[in-house]
Symmetry: C2
Subunit: 226 residues, 2 copies
């Protein structure tokens, strides 16, 4: 699936001018495993691109396959048409964020959020190779529910034609993380306010089957892994 | 708190060229109450801006106060320095997304996500009025945990100076929603694959108090509303 096999990946991405934060640099990470784990923990990203000189940010699904992200949408959607129109590709920024906790300090100033995020800068290109496109669509389904692509009808020729997939290589990448507890100033510790962390998680409810399932269809085992 | 009181708000935002989607227009909404409810249901947005011609998307906290969004960060952070440098303000796109469910169709093509999102286009300006800045900081704390700002030490002069707040008016705004069940094609209904929806929610765990709380400090009642 990985288009350009690189048997010996360095353990970290190389920082660039735009992946080095101007502040809170201690929260930044370029570690490849950290970046991958944050990306693998989600499936909705925020895709940024420039249209008529102004920024546009849209939520969309993504999948990671090796050192490449795939994003998809209708061939009629704006960013996907723009990648097609722009010969050298579309400059994008793709950001994935997980909220892990609310950090309540005694001082309003030190209130914070525990989070993990990844920001990817680069140029997105339309995937034109049919086989890569098929594999990317499988990856997009499996990113949301691992194992699901093998238990669904694959896209037919017409559906493939109606779906555009764009690819973005993981090269200019950084992660940013905040973990741990409250960082109040020493002189605030005696204040009477409660302080602490409220854990935040994404929770999946019981699957709600369609009313018209074929009789005898069981809830698949891979759903219990969510 | 609202800078420009408008006693008779129209029930909907006016669509513009960039808030009318090129596809799935039936999912779009300009209804003011719908937009407000989606914004009020979150506190992390994705802020997009253009830097050296390329898009940048960063997660950040926001609060809604009437028809205005407030975003904050260190005065040293990039977008906040850019609003300061750019006299007419910084063109931004602010997007808020909630994932409500995974839609598993029999066909890979009809897999989808139930979600609610709001996209705000506009020009962000730094908040320079001290009173508006104080109220905005309260709103930012209360957006995450309603009631919390009154139970914490407010920012002092030094902290206020170190914090930048930017404001973005809700004018060019749209919501997009997908709700409901699976939309398989009729000819796929007899396929043996399970189909249905997995509900997704954000869940808060039990508050973890700081170890050095003043003895006798109780868990505040407003935390149980989360």
């Amino acid at each position: 699936m990985q288009p350009t096999p690189q048997p010996t990946q360095p353990a970290a991405y190389s920082p660039t001018d735009r992946t080095v934060p101007t502040r809170a640099a201690e929260k930044a990470s370029y570690d490849r495993e950290v970046v991958h784990s944050i990306l693998d923990d989600g499936y909705v990203c925020h895709l940024g691109f420039v249209r008529d000189g102004a920024p546009v940010v849209l939520p969309t699904l993504y999948a990671r396959a090796g050192e490449r992200l795939y994003l998809h949408g209708s061939t009629g959607s704006r960013p996907l048409r723009m990648t097609g129109r722009t010969d050298p590709g579309l400059p994008v920024c793709v950001t994935v964020t997980h909220v892990d906790g609310l950090v309540l300090a005694r001082s309003a100033f030190h209130h914070s959020i525990n989070y993990r995020s990844v920001v990817v800068h680069g140029t997105a290109h339309q995937v034109t190779d049919p086989e890569e496109k098929r594999l990317a669509l499988d990856a997009l389904v499996d990113q949301v529910v691992p194992g699901r692509s093998a238990d669904s009808r694959r896209a037919d020729r017409k559906e493939l034609a109606a779906t555009a997939v764009i690819a973005l290589d993981l090269a200019e990448v950084s992660a940013k993380l905040r973990t741990g507890g409250v960082n109040d100033d020493p002189e605030d510790l005696a204040l009477p306010h409660w302080a602490g962390v409220i854990p935040v998680t994404r929770t999946y409810g019981a699957p709600v089957p369609s009313e018209n399932l074929r009789p005898g269809t069981k809830t698949p085992g891979y759903l219990s892994a969510l």
